[in-house]
């Protein structure tokens, strides 16, 4: 792996670069080409990986837990830890901190997932809708009052982090710090092993302290619930509780904020869709799914568990495969006019939240946040557009979405 500025790939089929600036900003034509010419491409960059672009292949790999492991789900390899440091942590906590159940394979996966699913089921998520709505109203009011603003940093970025903090029983004042850690872990850290390692270390250290506090004084929050839970008559080990905390923190922030940002980018650049959504609020549930399809934020990875051939590609044990959900969701074999956003699209088996046993555990929460964020933004600002001359910037790789989205109102 290298942290030097990479050169633009000469061939996307055997030298793709998911961090290439042009690709990050507009990957869609590249995926269209690849689907026709080389539906599973390969690169040696960033530790090497395979990249399927067809829905059928992405879905098949996501469902195949025999040949593909979730032990590493980030799109670039984990940095090699400094000597002894990780070992010390393992001894202290009685086990390695991963991020179960996203990093779990069967059979651990089943009980680890069962543990958290009730916390993210619709009934549990409903409780957070009023505070989400209130938060969105405050944020958008501030932007509208200013006449213009950054809908990524000033709005989208502020929403999921606060709801997750509330669920974990952590003060809202930690929001900025969490955002930095999560960006360090997933975005900046994807191409910089030091930032990534440092960010994960800070998150684990913080959660270790929080878990220690909850043991003395349990509260009404997810960490306390996990500490009180039993699996086969035994309490859940601390390293597991911390690991699940890492997952909830890291997976629930960057991803949803990116989805909200992309949705607002679309509505800022497509006035006819924006006006339709204002005029026909009843299509909102379908529109939310369509925006998730067209601008799916998340790409996950799998490691090949045993040698396997997929569509003629010889995948070897240890190889990394990128589950390119965003490309799958633009596959013309599955979606009519895939590059068009059709707000009330009726046939939409999108896999923005993955497929198979690792379907995003927080999808109900993400969907609620996205819906409420769009509703409240449009309620306060039915007319808005990109600020002329200001640059929209995008992040990509693991999670794709706008990082700077300057809009003007009226």
């Amino acid at each position: 792996m290298t942290t030097t500025e990479p050169t633009t790939p000469t061939s996307w089929a055997d030298d793709y670069d998911i961090f290439d600036k042009g690709y990050v900003a507009d990957p869609f034509p590249i995926w269209d080409d690849l689907r026709g010419s080389c539906p599973i491409s390969h690169t040696e960059r960033w530790g090497g990986s395979w990249l399927p672009t067809r829905y059928e292949d992405v879905s098949a790999i996501a469902h195949d837990t025999v040949h593909f492991s979730s032990k590493e789900v980030l799109v670039t390899p984990a940095p090699v830890p400094e000597d002894g440091q990780e070992q010390e942590m393992i001894i202290q906590l009685g086990g390695e901190v991963a991020a179960p159940p996203i990093t779990s394979d069967p059979p651990e996966h089943q009980w680890a997932r069962r543990l958290i699913l009730p916390m993210f089921a619709p009934r549990a998520v409903e409780k957070y809708e009023p505070i989400t709505r209130e938060l969105c109203r405050e944020l958008v009011a501030e932007l509208v009052a200013a006449g213009k603003g950054d809908a990524a940093v000033g709005y989208s970025q502020q929403i999921p982090v606060r709801i997750i903090a509330k669920m974990l029983g952590i003060p809202e004042t930690m929001s900025e710090t969490f955002t930095q850690w999560v960006r360090g872990a997933l975005e900046l850290g994807a191409t910089d092993p030091e930032i990534r390692q440092e960010s994960f270390k800070e998150i684990v250290t913080y959660l270790f302290e929080e878990v220690t506090k909850r043991k003395e004084h349990p509260g009404d929050d997810i960490l306390s619930e996990l500490l009180a839970a039993e699996v086969d008559g035994a309490p859940v080990p601390d390293f597991h509780v911390i690991g699940t905390g890492v997952l909830i923190l890291v997976a629930g922030i960057d991803t949803t904020w990116s989805a909200i940002g992309s949705a607002l980018w679309h509505l800022a650049t497509h006035p006819e869709d924006r006006r339709r959504l204002v005029a026909e609020p009843e299509i909102m549930p379908l529109a939310v799914e369509e925006l998730l399809r067209a601008y799916s934020p998340v790409t996950m990875a799998r490691l090949v568990k045993e040698d396997v051939e997929v569509q003629g590609c010889p995948m070897r044990e240890g190889d990394r495969v990128l589950l390119n959900f965003p490309a799958a969701n633009r596959d013309p074999e599955v979606f009519e006019r895939p590059d068009e956003v059709i707000l009330d699209r009726a046939k939409n088996r999108h896999i923005a939240f993955g497929a198979g046993i690792h379907r995003c555990a927080g999808s109900n929460l993400a969907r609620m946040e996205l819906r409420v964020a769009i509703e409240e933004f449009l309620a306060a600002a039915p007319e808005f557009s990109l600020e002329e001359g200001a640059e929209v910037t995008w992040a990509g790789g693991q999670v794709r979405g706008p990082r700077c989205l300057p809009v003007v109102f009226g």
Partner: protein, 65 residues
């Protein structure tokens, strides 16, 4: 018309109960179950098809009577 959720296929995407809440609901884990015995009332046929057409796991079966 009736709808049925194939439990072995359902992964709790929740698309059916989000799009057709009068036909599907969530259990405690977020997996889908049919409301009542799955009977689709007259006028709800399109919702039943919508739910089936949005399931990424092909876990919804429509039984035409």
């Amino acid at each position: 018309m009736k709808v049925r959720v194939i439990d072995e296929k359902c992964q709790g995407h929740g698309r059916c109960y989000a799009l057709a809440p009068e036909l599907f609901e969530s259990d405690d884990l977020g997996n889908a179950v049919v409301c009542g015995d799955g009977t689709v009332a007259p006028g709800q046929e399109d919702d039943a098809r919508l739910a089936a057409d949005n399931c990424p796991e092909f876990a919804i079966e429509i039984l035409e009577s």
